[in-house]
């Protein structure tokens, strides 16, 4: 996952192919060699082709048909499914919601995870050895804990916490005197449904990314932090100019993973607001795709939506790479 990892892995391979003299000799297709290739290259490759590439191609093909999903008949209809998808105001709304998620969720999650990771690894006492807060191990377990709960349970749990009449949130708020929150539908109000859903997703994910960043920060030699401290850099300055550039690769990876998770978000949204929320304010593309396929029996159209979702996801990943590159990611410092 880190830059160091790649370099290490690559070295032995390079050494073997570079041996002079070997290149000229005809390849020796011994049984050993052929079975080796079949087992370690052919098998994974065919699994990949059958279970990853061919469904993609099939889905694209189906998106050009009027397949209902419930019989094998389908007629070619060209791009009309795409026209229908892009003139469907509810689908467009679901794209907007998904994009909104892809912008907010990764950013907030990473900011939070980085802060927590910094506190736990290097944010401790400014005297003596570089270390995290006291009881860092405890905080680490606490923050990682939500990640061990399946997403669907998180969704169901929080929908109970936010229940208007019996939920914990309104119970506490009304108990301390905020009477306007009596029966306030957090997940049923058009202004709060999306932020609350985002909060739940972030709550569920932040622990994992914190642990990821902790591992990355631990890879940075503490001498760097010590010298920065001697030069008079504060904690915030250290985090921004030492930690962040050094774990840049990790942040990029996390950003892409989080973006993909946010663009899907199916489980959370289905658990919190299975019908798309007030005025479809939390309806995401994967939910609408599911509805189109299974309740409306329009698999051709649903496949077209799937292709659009894939395109959005890939452009998101591309965009993250591009931004990273433009902001100087390619000449980033590595410690390898």
């Amino acid at each position: 996952m880190t830059a160091q990892g790649f370099t290490h892995r690559r070295t032995p391979g390079l050494a073997r192919t570079a041996t002079p003299g070997r290149r000229r000799r005809r390849r020796n297709w011994s049984v050993d060699r052929v079975t080796f290739f079949l087992a370690f290259l052919g098998l994974p490759l065919s699994v990949y082709l059958i279970f990853v590439v061919s469904p993609f191609i099939q889905a694209f093909y189906y998106s050009l048909t009027d397949w209902t999903g419930f019989n094998p008949q389908m007629d070619y209809v060209g791009l009309s499914n795409y026209t229908r998808a892009f003139t469907d105001n509810i689908f467009l709304k679901s794209i907007r919601n998904s994009v909104e998620l892809a912008i907010v969720v990764p950013f907030v999650t990473i900011a939070l995870a980085l802060t927590l990771a910094t506190l736990i690894t290097v944010g401790g006492s400014s005297h003596g050895q570089i270390r995290g807060l006291s009881a860092a191990g405890f905080y680490r377990v606490i923050s990682f804990f939500p990640y061990t709960i399946p997403a669907i349970i998180i969704g169901i749990m929080w929908s109970q916490v936010f229940d208007p009449s019996n939920g914990l949130v309104n119970g506490i708020l009304t108990a301390v005197g905020f009477k306007q929150f009596d029966s306030f539908p957090w997940l049923g109000n058009i202004d709060t449904a999306m932020p609350v859903s985002m909060f739940v997703i972030i709550w569920g994910l932040v622990g994992f990314y914190m642990v990821l960043f902790i591992a990355a920060i631990k890879g940075i030699p503490s001498e760097i932090y010590e010298s920065a401290r001697i030069d008079g850099a504060g904690r915030f300055r250290t985090a921004l100019t030492i930690t962040l550039p050094l774990i840049r690769e990790n942040v990029q990876t996390a950003y892409i993973y989080l973006g993909i998770a946010a663009l899907d978000a199916f489980v959370y949204m289905q658990a919190l607001n299975s019908n798309g929320g007030p005025n479809n304010s939390t309806l995401v593309m994967s939910q609408y795709l599911y509805r189109t396929a299974f309740t409306k029996g329009q698999w051709g159209l649903a496949c077209a939506m799937g292709v659009v979702l894939a395109a959005v996801t890939m452009s998101f990943a591309g965009l993250v790479f591009l931004v990273n590159r433009l902001t100087g990611g390619k000449d980033s410092v590595t410690l390898a």
Partner: protein, 475 residues
Amino acid sequence: MQNSSFGQARIGRRSLLASAAVIPLAGTLASCAGSGAGNTTSTSGSSATSAVSTSPDNPFGVAKGSSVDAVIFNGGYGVDYAQYAAKLMGQQPYAANCTVTPTTTIATTLQPRFNAGNPPDVIDDSGANLIGIQTILSEIEDLTDVFAANNLEGTPIKDTLYGGVTAPGTYNGKFAVINYVMTVYALWYSQSMFDANGWKPPTTWDEAYALGQEAKAKNKYLFLWGKEAATYYQTTAIGSAIKEGGNDVRLALENLKPKCWSLDPIQQVFTAMKKIIDAGMVKPGGSGTQFTQAQAQWSSQEQALLYPSGSWIENEMKSQTKAGFKMTGTPELTVTKNSQMPATALHATAGEGYIVPTQAKNVAGGKEFMRVMLSKDAATNFAKTKLAPTIVKGTVPADGFGSTALVSQIKMLDNAATDVFSWQFVDYYGMNADQLVLWNTFLGGGSSVKQLTAGLQQITDKIANDPTIKKITVS
């Protein structure tokens, strides 16, 4: 569980979990994969069974010892009644071996089997995840011969049924779906609470408003709702508008006419509802409340007086109903006293739709399963254990097996006589999910009658103007 917009919302935690289990499918493109193989059809199965001679005991010619594959929606009614019928099938001369597979997600579970040409022999196509009939109409059997056959007791089945039960299963002239359970749509209330306060169930929206003011004095609401079930209020509004304006209203909606939602009776009902909402007589927060929890606030905590629902409500809330609640139904409201249909007119239909796929291996077995289900024996067993009447008449004794709701259903059906109506467009075109959104907003006081009407009309127009959706004509 019903084949209705009420039914669409019947998703509990279980189906939520089930739908979450499909994420790997729904979330990725891989979901569309895996159909190509399904181009061969196994019609050989049905021709093989047709070689078996038929007899009054075995009108469809079920092969001796053959197996029957029944997939049953596991909702509010469970599957034990279907297992009872399966057991009966084993006791018949042909001794068929019928397996009942329960599922909460019919469409998700069966889509691959339909596509591969290997569907089950009989399906209870119900619940939130039902397969839209529009999608598979050409792939399921016409079931007229089931009603023409004799039941296990030797009476022709068609003579044992309530009137009008074929209508909700008939699509463009094809009787494709046997709706098994008689469902009455009504406003439900606690007879004991009403008696204690000297209240009478309302018959018009004005009376409902007056009742709402009395409820306020007792610190109670008139109505409440849950987010997945907001369209229960649409169902009661449509029922009310049809009673007020007559069949013209129903036909305009069914045939997706332009500006159908702007018809006078519908607007009057919406306006009356808006008055109740604005007066604070609807418990706030419904758009964020899971619907069975909302229903428990009515049946257990008695925070509201009335709840519009289908007659499955008693069974659904069985474990969460206050002791001595005495759940009772009253027909949907009218706007004025001189409405087109009388106040006793009833919105009732048969629900819980059973279908037999044409490509099933044992079509005869599937039809035979339905014949057994419609026997007096199996139908009485259903009424007794589920406290709901099937489409078979005379299975409920006068005491309704001790259920006030069941007694009131039979009473409402008797009072209505021939003034019974229903509609299909919401489920047939799968509109419920989109309409839910509008009703959650409206009931929460977040939109005007005009906005609600415009939104509903937009949903109707979108389907009316989409040439790829096959329309049904209702007359």
